[in-house]
């Protein structure tokens, strides 16, 4: 059926078939979790539910914190302010520039906190589903960033044609201009949004898949392994999966940071006068 069968065959040959139907390699199909509505396009899936929960948590947290602000911040206020300062200063002000970064801080802050919470749901017990491992959700986030930076650029350069003209760096010989225009056009309109969405999606999918392989494989080796050596390597796989979980934590922070950083970078390109 699937190309995963190679490894599955190898594992079932290695481990004398103890289970009923052998080892099933975790694959992309494990990320399809319909909850309500069966298999139609309008199904409420598990990532959709997790996304709604994350939005609820974020809204409740920041509204409740900002309702009772004190001069000397408490623990939760300190946390909220830390996140806000990080996005505002490190990402917003340093990249977009002091002149007009303030109008983009709400967008950047929403992106950062939302992606961070959704990524962390990948390893928080009982939720344990990285929402961004369904490609549709990063695509929507990227679409928002895409529309924002093109709109800002067209407004700043006073029209679509001047915007296209500004894509070509100044001071080039005439014959180079069309070639560079095609390259820059592809970068701005195709490659940037494509990689922005796929980076987040790919990292979350691959990381979660790796955890699945170690945990499911470890369980299989431990319970269905034919000899003591295989059982022991199952325990080892479990131990390794715990280490990988901490590695995932790092990746999840990093991906939320990079997505927001690149969004800010694209906006700063749009805002800047030249190029």
């Amino acid at each position: 059926m699937s190309p995963n069968m190679v490894s599955a065959d190898m594992v079932t040959n290695l481990v004398a078939a103890g289970g009923e139907d052998g080892f099933k390699t975790p694959g992309v199909a494990d990320f399809w979790w319909p909850l309500i509505g069966g298999n139609s396009p309008w199904t409420l899936t598990r990532p959709a539910l997790v996304l709604l929960i994350s939005v609820g948590i974020l809204g409740w947290f920041f509204v409740s914190v900002s309702r009772k602000l004190t001069v000397v911040p408490g623990k939760t206020q300190f946390m909220a302010e830390g996140a806000y300062n990080f996005v505002r200063n490190t990402i917003g002000r340093d990249i977009i520039g002091t002149k007009d970064f303030m109008q983009f801080v709400p967008l950047l802050f929403t992106l950062f906190t939302m992606i961070l919470v959704n990524n962390l749901f990948g390893i928080i017990p009982f939720v344990q589903f990285p929402t961004m491992s369904r490609v549709g959700i990063p695509i929507v986030l990227t679409l928002i960033v895409y529309i924002v930076y093109h709109t800002v650029a067209i407004r700043r350069k006073h029209g679509v044609l001047p915007y296209f003209k500004s894509l070509i760096p100044p001071g080039l010989p005439g014959w180079l201009k069309p070639i560079l225009f095609v390259l820059e056009f592809l970068t701005y309109f195709v490659i940037r949004p494509l990689t922005l969405a796929l980076r987040l999606f790919g990292n979350m999918l691959a990381g979660h898949l790796m955890l699945l392989v170690f945990i499911i494989g470890g369980e299989y080796l431990l319970l269905h392994g034919s000899n003591l050596f295989l059982n022991f390597s199952g325990v080892l796989a479990f131990g390794f999966s715990i280490g990988m979980t901490f590695f995932e934590l790092l990746i999840e922070f990093l991906q939320a940071f990079i997505f927001t950083l690149l969004a800010a970078l694209y906006i700063s390109d749009a805002v800047s006068e030249h190029h």
Binding site: P3, V6, L194, T195, R199, G202, A206, I258, L261, L262
Partner: protein
């Protein structure tokens, strides 16, 4: 035994970005070691460079899923 050679292709495609990301962070560590006060500025540049380099590996990952081919059996 059958499988998809696309996964092998992805493995090969990951070599280049792997080396590239290594080079970027080597340069970043060098820069911070020589001039610790430039850390904030270098950090942004390093992560931006990493994101651009990593894009190649991610395109490879996606293409590995896209061009899986069909099962001959």
């Amino acid at each position: 035994m059958y499988g998809s050679i696309a996964y092998l292709g992805y493995g090969l495609a990951a070599i280049g970005p792997g080396i590239g990301v290594g080079l970027i962070f080597a340069a970043y560590i060098n820069g911070v070691a020589r001039q610790p006060e430039a850390r904030g500025m270098l950090q942004t540049i390093a992560f931006t460079g990493m994101a651009i380099t990593e894009a190649l590996a991610i395109l490879g990952l996606v293409f590995a899923f896209v061009f899986q081919g069909t099962n001959p059996n």
